[in-house]
Structure formats: C-alpha cells, structure tokens
C-alpha cells in the first residue's frame, strides 16, 4: 500500500499528469457550449427522421444525451491522453536516473511494477470519471435532465431509457470505459518497461491503436476475419450499457477479452522488468 501511495504521489505531483484533465475539460466545455448554441439545429436533425414514426415530447436534448454523445468520441482522444502517463510511469524513472535509487531498495521489482500499474489504473480511472462527471454536471446544468433517446449502436433504430434508470446505466458505462481504457494503458505500460524515455511508448501505443482500428474497419473479408482478435473491437463495449435490453452476455465476453488482454500485458511487463539490466 505504501508503494502505491508513493507512486500515486509521484504521478500526481507532475504537471504532465494534468494535461489529460485539462484537454478533457477543454473538449467537454467547448462541445457542450457549442451544442447549447446550436441546440435548435441539433434538435432539428435529431427529430427530423424520428418524428415520422414517433410522437416525441419533453426535453430530448438533455444532459444525459450530451454525455452519451461526447462519450462516443472516447476511443479517439482518450488513448492518447492515457499514454501520456501510462507510457511514462516506468520509463521516466530511467530518463531521470531515479531508477538507480528505486531498484536498490528492499521491495522487489515485481512489487514496484505492480504499484506502478495500480497507479496507472488510478490515473486511467480518474481521467474517465472526470470526463463522465464533467459531461454530466455541465450537461445537466446547461441542458437540464430528461429521458434518454439515442440511436441504437450497431443497428438501425432508437433506444429509449427512462430518466430514473439513466444514472445507474451511466455508472456501469463508465466502469466499462475504464476497463476498456486499461487495455490501452496496459500496452503503454508494457512499452514503458522496455523503453528509457516516454516518447517510444506513447507513439508505439498510438500506432497499435490506430493500426488495429484501421484494420478492424477495412471492408474486406480478410480484415473482417481478423476483427474478433483485435482488442480495439471491444473498446466501445461500454455503449452496450445504453442498449435495450442490455446484452449482458456480450458485455461479459468483451470485458473478459479486454481483461485477459490487460492481465497478459501486465504479466509480460512484470517478467521483462524483473529480468531487465539497468544500464541507464
């Protein structure tokens, strides 16, 4: 516990840790303010097709809708912001030379690496929760509350979720988003144990995410056959908590795949670092 506390203290004492929070705040504020200013246009586009088949009343463009809308962009900018810290958490000790003071202490390398991984989880969770809470609080303030009406993810149609049910669904969605982002963080973390500075792990992780996303979205049979094996396929499984009915089986399978992916990467990082010669 002490090691985790010290790692957390070190991580949150650095200004680069707050870049992610700053960028998210900027994105959320700009998006929500622009949405507020363009509310009429957004409502028109939303209701244009729906009003042919449904009778819609009440506050449709509400804080929950805005939150779901912004969360959809999660897999685009969040991986980069996460790698800023996850790719740096181990390699920065080599860059600064502090690794030579750290690894000559009684705690084993495995314990130190585990503490750093837990800290990476704290950062990732903090970043996703910050995004979620900011979206909701600012959204509810600017747009008010109401039932959630959104397009069905992955197939044609709309989903309607009653206002009372939304908070718990959002909570699960955020938990799932943290789980997804930990898969990205684990890649950066593994690369961080191999590198002596944070540039390689950040670029390397982003390259993996981008390449996997591109491969997974190529409209060719060969690439489609690869899709189930790419972790990026499951990154957006949090959206399924806003589905109706909630596909628990699919969610469980996506969570298990991402979880195994993260554990495997962590175990590799552990093995690599335990045997690594510190030459820096």
């Amino acid at each position: 516990m002490k090691l985790v506390w010290f790692e957390t203290l070190k991580t949150f004492s650095r200004w680069r840790t707050y870049i992610g929070f700053g960028v998210i705040a900027l994105i959320v504020i700009i998006t929500e303010v622009v949405m507020k200013l363009s509310a009429d246009e957004i409502l028109y586009r939303m209701l244009r097709s729906l009003e042919k088949d449904f009778l819609i009343s009440g506050n449709v463009l509400n804080g929950w809708f805005v939150t779901a809308f912004i969360m959809n962009t999660l897999h685009i900018h969040m991986p980069f912001l996460i790698t800023l810290v996850a790719g740096d958490v181990v390699s920065s000790e080599a860059t600064s030379g502090t690794v030579r003071l750290l690894l000559i202490r009684p705690p084993s390398r495995s314990r130190i690496i585990t503490a750093k991984y837990i800290t990476t989880f704290f950062y990732t969770a903090g970043l996703v929760l910050f995004l979620g809470l900011l979206c909701i609080l600012l959204g509810l303030t600017l747009f008010g509350s109401g039932d959630l009406i959104i397009h069905h993810y992955g197939r044609f149609g709309v989903i309607y979720i009653e206002e009372a049910e939304i908070p718990i669904r959002m909570l699960f969605a955020f938990m799932a988003a943290i789980w997804s982002m930990m898969a990205v963080a684990s890649i950066a973390f593994l690369l961080s144990t191999l590198a002596e500075n944070s540039v390689g792990p950040i670029i390397g992780t982003m390259a993996v995410v981008v390449v996997f996303l591109v491969i997974g979205n190529f409209p060719l049979d060969f690439f489609r056959s690869l899709k189930p094996y790419l972790f990026t396929t499951y990154l957006t499984f949090w959206q399924q908590f806003l589905d109706d009915p909630i596909p628990w089986r699919q969610i469980g399978s996506s969570a298990a795949i991402l979880g195994l992916h993260s554990i495997l990467l962590f175990l590799i990082a552990l093995g690599v670092y335990a045997r690594k010669d510190i030459k820096s």
Binding site: L9, K10, S13, G97, T98, L101, P106, D277, I278
Partner: protein, 310 residues
C-alpha cells in the same frame, strides 16, 4: 573482540562476472569488504567499477558468480540484505519536481518507517536542513550529492556503497564529501565501499582497497600494503624556501625534480621520506606540506609489474 569485528566480512563477491554481448565488463571479481572498512574500488574510467557496483546493488544480473552480504546470498535474501545496505550509483538523481524532504520520505520509507524528525536530522547532518522544503530542481550538483548521502544514511545502513561520490564536485565539495565519509565511518561505525578513479582520493580516505582494470581485479589489500612506502616522488612546501632548496641539494639521496609556485617536487630514496622531513625540521625549516606524488599510471605499472595498461 574488536579484531573479530574488524575481520567480519560484510561483502564478498565470488567469481563475479558480467558480459555485455561479446565484451566482459567485469570478469571473475573476488572482492572482500570487512566491517568498518572504508574500502575503495580503484580503477580508471571504464574499468568495470560501476558494473560491479550495479551487480552488488541488484541493478544488473551477473552473468556468473555470486554475491554474499552479511554472510547471506544476495539473490536468495534480497529483501533482508538490501534493508541493511544503501548506496548511490553514478550520480544521485532525484525526483526534481519534489522537495528534498519528500524525496527522502519516499526513498527512506521503502526500507523502513521514517519519522519526520529523522528526515530533518539527516538533512542537518548533510547541511541541507534549511533547504528541506525546496524542490530538488533548484539544487546544485554538490547539494544533490549530499542529498544522495542523506538518502543513504536515512535507511541506517550497515554498508554504504558510493560510486565515484566526488565526481563533478569542486575541490571544496570533494573535501566536504571526504570528511563526511570519514565521519560516517568513525561516528556511525558504517562500512563504506566507494569507487574512484583518483588515486589521491583513495590515499586520503581508504583503509582497504581493490584495483580493477579492464574488468579484472589486479590487486586487493590494505592501502599501506598496496601503496606502501614505495612512492619516491613528493610535493613539498617549506619555509624559508631557498634554504630548504639548498639543503636538499646537499643531500645525495634527494633529487629536486622541479620548482614552482612556492613548492618543489623531489625524488627521495625509498623509505627515507620521514628522514627528510626530520632533517628539514632540525635545520630550522618548517614543512607546511609534504605528500607523496603518484599517478594512477605509475601505480598501475607498479602493481602489475608493467603488464597492464590503462
């Protein structure tokens, strides 16, 4: 009893070797450090000193050989052994964005629970108490070096390992570190293992020493055994200067090599340096400094019989 304590081996390496690719950075090192020693590991840059220290402090995995500390195998008793050892490898690097106090709190607490007053006391010992809450980013190299020693002391180690602790310091800083090392050895009964490429530094602080070159151990023993009285060249400062110079010219077993800056370099027959000092004093000449003048190159030639080059 004192003799027993003096002879207790706190660090022993057996056939310690490290190979990087095809190159042996250290080969078959058999070192022995006794309790209470100020043990100096002497060798030129690139000789393998840091590699050996990194293996002793578990930063590098030996290719072969073993390390025992306090009678226990290091790799089988890592936690127990490392809780009794601390050190600085190369330069002391800290978390620059944290204060000296916070750095010590984090690093010290990895060994044992440290109290706030202990941290302040150690900072006082190294002369950094007034800067305790300033970020390390603002510290000079000398201050970081002292903070490095502070973090080592905070863990109350029985053995401190310092890799070239005076590198990059000005003469005053070097002197301060040397005095601190001696004080730690005498007042806190710590065993100190330090590496250096400066022969003069070894002579000033060490009780025992080992010499390494090109990864291999050349010699090991007490400083007097290895350096002995073989040195024949001395730097001498005396006054009045000219009568001292004339007196020396009259002695057949002394040869004046050079004169300048109020000092002279002289060559004395082996074993007769004390006699020269006495001779000068009895002739009313006061000797303000008289110290052997040896280069690492000369010393290497001596201990290797001219077979080893730096």
């Amino acid at each position: 009893m004192e003799e027993t304590l003096q002879r207790e081996v706190v660090l022993r390496t057996l056939g310690l070797s490290k190979k990087f690719g095809k190159r042996w950075a250290a080969r078959n090192l058999n070192l022995e450090v006794h309790r209470g020693d100020i043990f100096c590991f002497l060798g030129p840059n690139g000789a393998g000193k840091s590699t050996a220290i990194r293996m002793i402090l578990t930063l590098l995995r030996p290719t072969s050989g073993s390390i025992e500390m306090f009678g226990k195998d290091l790799h089988q008793n890592r936690r127990d052994v490392l809780s009794r050892v601390c050190g600085i490898v190369e330069k002391p690097d800290f978390y620059l964005y944290l204060s000296a106090y916070k750095n010590l709190q984090i690093l010290g607490s990895m060994n044992r629970s440290v109290r706030s007053d202990e941290i302040m006391e150690i900072l006082d010992v190294v002369g950094l108490k007034s800067r305790a809450f300033e970020k390390v980013r603002t510290f000079s190299h000398g201050m970081k070096q002292r903070l490095g020693i502070a973090q080592a002391l905070l863990t109350k180690p029985e053995l401190i390992i310092l890799d070239e602790p005076t590198t990059g310091l000005d003469p005053q800083g070097m002197k301060e570190i040397r005095e601190l090392i001696k004080r730690l050895s005498h007042e806190r009964s710590m065993t100190i293992f330090l590496s250096s490429h400066l022969l003069s530094e070894v002579e000033l602080v060490a009780t025992r020493m080992a010499v390494i070159n090109k990864g291999e151990l050349i010699a090991q023993g007490t400083v007097s055994e290895l350096l002995g009285n073989e040195a024949t060249d001395y730097t001498l400062q005396a006054s009045p200067f000219h009568p001292a110079l004339e007196l020396m010219g009259s002695l057949a077993w002394v040869k004046v090599l050079s004169v300048g800056n109020g000092a002279m370099e002289v060559r004395v027959e082996p074993g007769r340096a004390p006699e020269l000092n006495k001779h000068l004093v009895t002739h009313g000449i006061s000797v303000s400094s008289f110290f052997p003048h040896r280069s690492l190159e000369d010393f290497f030639l001596k201990v290797t019989g001219g077979k080893s080059e730096i």
